[in-house]
């Protein structure tokens, strides 16, 4: 799915709101339902956006966001506070999203009809939306990790620090994967160079 939108900036983590978050998590652990709701309200937008970016459909983004929070509430006892709560939630969201995409990919590989492969348009794109469709198709062909880093950084505006923490990799790996993704996309879109150079 390709639509116009702007990228929201990441919330700033100050010591004061870190302390608030710790108190909130404590209340969630004690089973305070209003705290569950407050935690959800504080983080749902970014989790939903992340799931949407990775999956591209509203239906899936909803399901995976719900799954992320149900799992998070169920496992909150195990959250040790080594990372920020939003990082922990994002890592769950990435994990459930990638698992679902893998499952769908396997299923699709079994069921994909031949006509679908024959329907890929060959004509040269002349408009920005068509070019974006081409780009999206190329993004979907990237290796899983590469694609995740690209969508988190270039599409959703995560910093390398946030990506590294969410994926459990170093910032260097995140940067390298982003460069790799951009390079692969440039190669994939080479025949349309006049479009992106104009």
């Amino acid at each position: 799915m390709v639509t116009d939108d702007t990228v929201p900036s990441a919330p700033m983590a100050t010591p004061a709101n870190r302390a608030d978050q710790r108190a909130l998590i404590e209340r969630v652990r004690r089973g305070d339902s209003s705290a569950h709701r407050a935690l959800y309200e504080a983080h749902v937008d970014r989790v939903y956006r992340l799931c949407y970016r990775l999956t591209g459909t509203e239906h899936l983004a909803r399901e995976l966001t719900q799954d992320t929070f149900v799992r998070a509430f169920g496992a909150i006892e195990g959250f040790r506070g080594d990372s920020a709560i939003e990082t922990w939630l994002h890592s769950i969201a990435v994990s459930v999203s990638l698992n679902e995409l893998r499952r769908r990919k396997r299923e699709h590989a079994r069921n994909a009809p031949l006509e679908e492969a024959l329907m890929i348009p060959k004509a040269s794109p002349r408009s920005d939306p068509v070019m974006r469709e081409k780009l999206m198709a190329a993004v979907n062909e990237l290796p899983e990790g590469c694609r995740t880093v690209f969508m988190m950084h270039d599409a959703e505006g995560f910093t390398h620090q946030e990506i590294a923490a969410s994926l459990g990799v170093t910032e260097g790996t995140s940067k390298a994967q982003l460069n790799r993704a951009r390079g692969k996309l440039r190669v994939a879109l080479a025949e349309y160079a006049e479009e992106w150079k104009s």
């Binding site: 390709v2 939108d5 599409a155 390079g183 996309l185 879109l189």
Partner: protein
């Protein structure tokens, strides 16, 4: 978590970056898979219901569902450890016996599956539970037929409790570390709890729609069918 993400092979590094392309990409990328407005309220309702069902089951607030309390968890862990111990012991005995048989030229040993392997035993137990669960879910679907005896629903509940016990034992076993299997068992537990919860009386349309939605969303039946690849041999669990 990095071990679970596929970054692809490292030997296909593309050429150096191109500032012009990167600038275009930075401009266009935010428009890829651009999210719609967050449906906060609708998602919260589902999350709240799922979280409440799970905590009610754990707290024993659902009639007919006995929660596995801490000491039962401990006992199930001990049982699993014993099972693994017995398995290892049997494996060692079998090897010894095979060595003795090999030393006797005239003897013949029939080929058979090694059921003493702990992970093999776990998978066997999981396969049996999934077979039961599949049958139960199919029976649940059939219980929608008009004119069904309410006694059938009660039997479905009692059957569901047995499958739920097996599911929880599998969830608590240290041998069950496969994340995909765990996710399937988690989803199965949730649906079983919902079925048991409503088994005392005929389901109204809302209750049934909720259970059907959970079944549909988690694609439980197809996943269970995938998890049980082939029929279990009748003698697989006996020695």
């Amino acid at each position: 978590m990095n071990d679970r993400i596929d970054f692809g092979p490292d030997d296909d590094m593309p050429p150096m970056s191109d500032a012009e392309f990167d600038a275009w990409l930075t401009r266009v990328a935010p428009k890829l898979n651009a999210p719609s407005a967050t449906p906060r309220g609708e998602m919260w309702k589902v999350i709240e219901t799922a979280a409440r069902t799970s905590s009610d089951a754990q707290a024993g607030r659902i009639p007919g569902v006995t929660p596995i309390r801490r000491h039962w968890r401990l006992l199930s862990l001990i049982a699993a450890a014993l099972l693994i111990g017995v398995g290892v012991d049997r494996m060692a005995l079998r090897r010894e016996r095979e060595q003795r048989v090999a030393a006797t030229p005239a003897a013949t040993v029939p080929a058979r599956a090694d059921s003493a392997d702990p992970s093999g035993l776990y998978r066997l137990a999981a396969a049996q539970t999934f077979t039961q669960a599949e049958a139960l879910l199919v029976a649940y679907r059939a219980s929608d037929a008009p004119g069904r005896d309410p006694q059938d629903l009660r039997q479905l509940g009692s059957w569901g409790r047995q499958v739920l016990s097996s599911t929880r034992l599998l969830l608590d076993s240290p041998a069950g570390r496969d994340p995909q299997l765990r996710a399937l068992l988690d989803d199965l537990e949730l649906v079983l709890v919902q079925i048991i919860r409503h088994s005392g009386a005929p389901l109204d349309t809302t209750d049934r729609a909720l259970i059907d939605r959970a079944l549909q969303d988690s694609r439980l039946l197809p996943r269970i069918r995938t998890a049980v690849p082939s029929p279990i041999p009748a003698d697989a669990s006996s020695d």
